[in-house]
Symmetry: C2
Subunit: 378 residues, 2 copies
């Protein structure tokens, strides 16, 4: 049973809210080991007898397991994909058993740099091993296996969630029926990597970062994380969208920092977005997850992109966003074409919007139109 | 006489190298006052008898008065527009008397936040008043008047130099024969302002900034300035240009910071660019000049953009760069059209390149092609 207003399938087996499941020892592909990994997850809907009516939702950089459900104390805007998930919604919880887990390396219940290393009794901090998109997917697989899931009807997500969806199709071809990477490609371009690195430098240059060992010191790298978030937000929106939304209007809200020649609305917006994240996100997780985004290369471990994509047996839907400059639509489409060339059943849909990368978290009508034919197709 | 290899006009009247000229009390338009302003400048070529063969070069954010001349200790790449300025070059020093001054608020010889406030005997720091593009232009006018210049045959520059060129035509219509704003518009868009603000926040969040009073403390906000430069560099290059130049190649040069999951070439490039600027630029000047860029609005003080542009009597050439995302070509062209609609003789030329905003500092052939017909037209 679930009490989430957005889900509502009364026969759902799982308890509402966040569950924590231990998957044990985990060895990240780039080295190191994690003695005792836990994943936080939520579910909506009911697992069927064949255990194959499962949709895995994969979240973006600062997301968490709370994909669906209305506003609450911890999620004042509700689940990050709530309009997409529920009875009668594009991902119909009367048909599907929907699972969303916080990624490995995250800070919303799953093992990450803020977790205590059982080998030292101290938080990992910067001694946490580098984790990759593939590691996140492998950890999710172990969770799904333990939940008795036999096959994914669909894995879908945007941004680094889209990278995970693609990697699922490559890494576990026999387990995935459909995969839908939204606003993601096989490898982030140098402009996106550069923007990520600006954020990481801001965090690591903050003296409160303390080489990553700030837990329990009473000082956290809030200023650095806020700047990283500002840089992130820039990549989530488009230039024409920002002209429309902010223009050159002076700021209306109170200043968070001393004014320097006045304040435009775009600056104030970024300040508030930055400040907001510091209250709900761990700076070290930001470092690790943004690094995973940058390092992801679908060809990793294979001879070529083509070889990697030739492994896929799932139906693929790539969704590009016309005004996205983090994962440009042209590159998303190109990835779909490469998948098709490699023999995969790949299709491409495009959302025409000024919302930029963020469209997958706000342009609900367009998003539903793009993915619904793919989800309902048999 | 000038010894600058790139200039070489033996009959030039000015001494070679940087000159300093006091223009006295200056009252910035947004308030405050500067008791004793000095501008650093350089000249090439000879002022003619009518004192009207003058070209004013207006430099970009981190530029200086050294527009022309070969490499030297202080300018290891030579003057920032050297291929454009000299005998037989597009701005021909055998025909023109060329002047370039470091902007008000800068840190290369002109009065700026690092200068000593004669009223306190201490460096201004953050007590330096906000200066605008119009202030820079008004200060330049006083310098030119003192040099005996009667009329500008041409004012030309890129980025905030382009903003100055445009403002010259609006502010002093009777003084300017031709003005060529390159890679600049009447007002920066919110995306550019946001990127500026990321840089400013990084500087001001650096504890070594010390509210701007870091001079003489032995600590300067180098980390913050380096991050600001990284954000700036991102806006100076294009996504496709960065794919071509950096791709996803691993870094080749030694690391400047501890590695975090390896380093891609784009990251290493940004680190070196950031570090490089800290050795030659004052962080407070970065704050003030980036603020001037953001605040510039050609309509400022007028009823409308149209009213401002209707003042222009100079011939205008706007040059857009196809891959520029700081001042997008479409917005540059739009500004040219607005000027034309307002009655100005405005034309538009476009440089088709992957170099991004930086094209005006490197795509010499294309730049010369774009501006030469305008310069030579009588």
């Amino acid at each position: 049973m679930t009490l989430d207003p957005g889900a509502g399938a009364s026969q759902a087996p799982a308890l509402p809210g966040i569950h924590h499941h231990a998957i044990g020892l985990f060895e990240p592909e780039l080295g190191g080991n994690l003695a005792d990994v836990t994943l936080a997850y939520e579910t909506w809907g009911v697992l069927n007898g064949r255990a194959d009516n499962v949709v895995l939702l994969t979240h973006a950089l600062t997301g968490d397991s709370h994909a669906a459900g209305g506003p609450s104390a911890g999620h004042r805007r509700g689940g990050w994909w709530d309009p997409m998930v529920g009875p009668g919604r594009p991902i119909d919880t009367e048909e599907y058993f929907v699972v969303c887990s916080n990624v490995l390396g995250g800070c919303a219940g799953s093992t990450g740099p803020a977790s205590v290393d059982p080998q030292t009794g101290e938080p990992y901090g910067a001694s946490f091993p580098i984790v990759t998109i593939r590691d996140m997917v492998r950890a999710q697989r172990r969770l799904l296996d333990d939940l008795g899931v036999r096959r994914l009807a669909l894995v879908i997500g945007g941004s680094i969630g889209g990278q995970q969806a693609l990697e699922w199709a490559v890494e576990f071809p026999d387990f995935v029926e459909k995969a839908a990477p939204v606003a993601a490609t096989g490898a982030l371009g140098p402009q996106g990597v550069g923007m990520s690195e600006i954020g990481r430098r801001a965090i690591m240059a903050d003296p409160n970062w303390q080489d990553g060992s700030y837990y329990g010191t009473g000082r956290t790298p809030e200023e650095g994380l806020a700047i990283a978030r500002m840089a992130g937000m820039m990549t989530y929106q488009s230039a024409p969208g920002q002209w429309e939304r902010f223009g050159r209007r002076p700021a209306g809200r109170p200043a968070l920092y001393p004014e320097f020649g006045g304040r435009l609305e775009i600056e104030s917006y970024l300040h508030y977005q930055g400040r907001d994240l510091t209250g709900r996100f761990d700076a070290n997780s930001y470092l690790y997850l943004s690094r995973a985004m940058d390092l992801y290369d679908v060809a990793g471990g294979y001879e070529s992109v083509g070889e990697a994509l030739s492994r896929v047996s799932a139906d693929l839907l790539f969704v590009g966003i016309t005004s996205d400059w983090l994962f440009p639509a042209s590159e998303v489409r190109d990835t779909a074409e490469r998948a098709s060339d490699a023999g995969a059943r790949a299709r491409y849909a495009e959302i025409d919007t000024l919302s930029g990368h963020d469209a997958f978290l706000k342009d609900w009508t367009e998003l539903a139109e793009a993915v619904k034919p793919f989800i309902t197709k048999t």
